[in-house]
């Protein structure tokens, strides 16, 4: 038990001190997470809408592929991105490997199928007749889509939050394509791996607590939003 007590004491000391290195790790973590969540949102929501709301050939295949995408191990995505960005890879000339951009690309590949898949499910639950109703009041295709997404907004929000969560908590892909370079591509998860390997449990635990706080805040916000919506619906 001694090991936990010591670690917790060190962790809180470090948190209150707030070293530069610690802040740097947090900033990089957020940068990667926010970039890849926004990219995942931009790619995933329209794709999710199309899959959830329209009927076309190959729709089922696309949904199956998306669902597979949601479950692909991050290390595999890391591997593919790493190979693509490596000097001999097709996009090697960009020189992106071991950068924040490379991590954001890998994390986008993780977040967008999650956001697309969950958005599709949320939008599919909006009744077809509601869209027909919007159309009958003069809505264009785009306006109809916007209304469906607005109707399914809790589901879409949950999709985005899940995408964000997957990105923040991921370690495999960022480790591979970011390289865990101190002060540049080190994020909370890779730092935890690093510090615990070195036996610095106090620092590792402090980072873990921060990670949990981020997740808790996210979910807290989501729950609050959901609740305020339900209250509104009940009047």
């Amino acid at each position: 038990m001694q090991v936990f007590v010591e670690a917790i004491i060190t962790a809180f000391a470090l948190l209150f001190e707030g070293s530069r290195e610690l802040w740097n790790v947090i900033v990089v973590t957020f940068r990667v997470a926010i970039l890849s969540t926004i990219a995942g949102f931009v790619l995933g929501v329209p794709m999710g809408f199309v899959m959830g709301a329209s009927r076309f050939r190959g729709r089922r295949l696309l949904i199956a592929l998306t669902n597979t995408g949601m479950a692909v191990p991050p290390v595999v995505i890391g591997l593919v991105v790493m190979m693509t960005l490596s000097r001999r890879g097709p996009l090697g000339f960009l020189g992106l490997l071991y950068s924040v951009d490379a991590m954001a690309i890998a994390q986008t590949l993780i977040s967008s199928p999650i956001i697309a898949g969950l958005t599709a499910a949320a939008v599919a639950s909006v009744p077809y007749k509601l869209r027909l109703q919007a159309r009958s009041l003069g809505a264009s295709k785009t306006e109809e889509a916007l209304l469906s997404i607005k109707e399914a907004r809790l589901g879409v929000l949950a999709a985005v939050a899940t995408g964000f969560g997957a990105v923040v908590r991921g370690v495999g892909a960022v480790m591979m394509v970011g390289g865990n370079i101190e002060g540049q591509t080190r994020v909370l998860t890779t730092a935890i791996v690093q510090e615990s390997r070195r036996g610095d449990f106090g620092l590792a635990l402090a980072l873990g607590i921060i990670l949990m706080l981020i997740t808790f805040t996210m979910n807290g916000f989501l729950t609050w939003y959901q609740h305020s919506n339900e209250r509104f619906e009940r009047g």
Binding site: P127, L132, A134, R135, G138, A139, R153, E233
Partner: protein, 373 residues
Amino acid sequence: MGETTAITNDKGLALRAEGICKQYGKRVVVDVDHVEIAAGETLALLGPSGAGKTTLLAILGLLEKPDAGQVYLDGKPVSVRDRVARRQMAAAFQSPYLFKGTISDNVAYGLKLRKVPVGRRREAVSEALERVDLEGWESRSALTLSGGEAQRVALARALVLKPRVLFLDEPLSSLDPLIKGRLTQDFARIIREESMTTVYVTHDQNEAMAVGDTMIILRDGRAVAQGHVDDVMGVPPNEWTAYFLGSEPPLEGTVVMSKEGLVGVDVGGLVVHAVGESETGARVRIGVRPEDVVLFEGDAAIPRSTARNHYSGSVVSVERWGVMYHVVLDIGGVRLASHVSLASVREMGLETGSEVQVVFKASAVRMRQTGLA
């Protein structure tokens, strides 16, 4: 194909469609030759569930593309892509499908899409809410309303657009009978007062009668009857339609007498009197609504009345239909139906085989000529 009576109105046709066909996979959902709605009139689309009513409405309302056929708005061919035409139409559906937000958000939705300025939007919304008896409800949440209230909001949301053609898809069928009865009257009045061209889908013939000027009865995607409501209801053009409308099939006969606006029609040996003009020898089809047929006990002394048709017959069957009993009668081989209250059925002890006297007025008999003298 059912029979057609010409639809004429001096204001001309607002909406017309020719050769409409729609398939889902191999199943033909709609196959209707022509639809016409005169400006300011209401067309009731009546039929059992799955008959293709909603699909036909969606096609006429430019919400779905037909596989074949053409829709005309005020004589001009229009399609789903035609945004200007689409914006002259508005619909309300069976479930009100209100959007999340306030009542005002909902009613203003179509106006917002049409980029109507905020001030005028607010004015139009409160006016529309007044039309449906919900004045001052603007800021309430749309998701807390009762079924009847929600349906009124859905109607206001369509009315506010002042559409050239209004589409109502079973707007009342999810409501309880009390509210439904009231809203049927309200909707009929509002549609009449706005003199809006309307397509009204329903599976309820009473609703169709209350709101419709003309009607199309659909069965498996095909129009089995089409024409003025009174004509179709009075003399259903075929057996299926008659049963669907709750009467016995129309009777075929020959005019044997015609004098001073009264005709006698020989129906298999039975002479039925009807109000109307026709030449002797003409082939006609007649129908009598069950509501107009009155029964008396076989040996009862019948009070003197103006009813010209008076026969003896026997009861073939007695079925309970909601609050009324549907009694099928045999009068010398001719079949008629009568609607009788529970009290009368008890009092007369009606059952299969009972002998009764059957009375109905000549003015209750609807007649349509099917062949020349």
